[in-house]
């Protein structure tokens, strides 16, 4: 498979691009990982289908926008999206649940410029949002998992990678969150960190601010 097959356009950041990169890594799929700084964005923006990034471009030039749509597509191609429609839906439900929390952080905490207000929002986020979220993830895992590691069924899916990436990103941004996840996701994190393809990717990926 030539990397001319697939082009992934995003900033030189993790943020909304990293999930797709992790899925492609897990799948052992080669692709062109096109990364640019904010200074280069004005050059790329007009070439992106909705003037936004990330974008996935196929060999014939067709483009897909929307980070989670892209992630779901490459996950499906790689067999990381469940073995039937119901499993895919359970995976989507875990993804949507994690997404809700990420969006809460990005809309309420991250953009707040006033230091006092930001500390307030962060405390609320940690005490209320994250606490409830860890509970919710636990409930979904209990309902959908067939083993102690993965969220749905008994194999790795892109829901696991999304939770993994989100927790890592949150830990980097807010180290105080460390204790909130307890031990319940440790088997999952260990399994992902130990996955040969993923480990290779994690060891080699560029260090970025977020």
């Amino acid at each position: 498979m030539s990397s001319g097959d697939l082009k992934f356009y995003y900033f030189d950041l993790q943020a909304r691009g990293e999930l797709t990169r992790l899925i492609l890594a897990a799948a052992g799929r080669s692709y062109e990982d096109i990364r640019f700084g904010f200074d280069k964005w004005p050059e790329y923006k007009p070439k992106m289908i909705l003037g936004q990034a990330p974008v996935l471009e196929l060999a014939d030039g067709t483009q897909l926008p929307q980070s989670l749509t892209i992630a779901r597509y490459v996950a499906r191609e790689a067999g990381l999206a469940g073995s039937d429609n119901l499993e895919s839906a359970k995976i989507d439900a875990v993804v949507d649940t994690q997404k809700d929390v990420n969006e809460t952080y990005f809309s309420k905490v991250f953009p707040e410029k006033d230091e006092t207000k930001k500390a307030e929002e962060l405390k609320k986020f940690l005490d209320e949002t994250v606490t409830k979220h860890v509970e919710n993830l636990g409930k979904l895992k209990k309902a959908y998992s067939k083993d102690e590691k993965y969220f749905v069924g008994d194999k790795l899916s892109w829901a696991d990678l999304f939770v993994f990436q989100s927790i890592q990103a949150l830990l980097q941004a807010v180290p105080e969150v460390k204790g909130k996840f307890g031990e319940q996701f440790k088997p999952l994190m260990d399994a992902i960190n130990g996955n040969e393809n993923i480990k290779k990717y994690l060891d080699a990926r560029p260090q970025t601010a977020f």
Binding site: I49, L50, L58, T62, L64, P65, Q66, L68, T69, I70, R72, Y73, R76, E77, N85, L86, S88, A89, K90, D92, A93, V95, D96, T97, E103, N136, K139, L140, A143
Partner: protein, 205 residues
Amino acid sequence: MPSYKLYYFNGRGRAEVARLIFAAAGEKYEDVRYERDQWPAHKAEMPLGQMPVLEVDGVKLPQSLSIARFLAKQFHLAGKDNFEQAQVDAVVDTIYDCLTKYVPIRFETDEAKKEELTKKFLAEELPKHLQNFETLGKLYGKGGHFFVGKQLTWADLLFFDVGAIILQVDSNAFNNHAWLKQNRAEVEKQPKIAEYLKNRPQTQF
């Protein structure tokens, strides 16, 4: 044949796209609607203490878009291959981005602030979302009236539903968007949808 049960409030809200999918597919389901005062008694029965929830053969699924995508795939309204499904998902996410921007405004309790935010949304936010919808429809729709691949998918049903909300805010919203107007007209005239729209309960939201 699986049995389906959809749980939501007595309103369209975040469940209506699932109801439209059932209707378009001509598929049966139990349409459970809780009034506000009934909800507290049932909250603990739902996986995340929220609705909508779809129960399929005893398995409960939360999250409105995950539910809709599942049903659409069950009933062949999701796109005919993996890439078409992704195009449908891209349209859905783009529609949802617009809705996400509007929802906090809709629920603003200060009337003066709400009016100001609504004006700002209509002038600054909405036009670029509508432009994005048309860009995707024209590209993925291959010259047809539907968003993806010349046939009805749940992307069209979601746009029909969200479009109604937009038109409530500004009845002229689509005046400069003939493609979007035409798309909604095509959905509305599908016989099973027309029948459903005629008979569905009239609710506040």
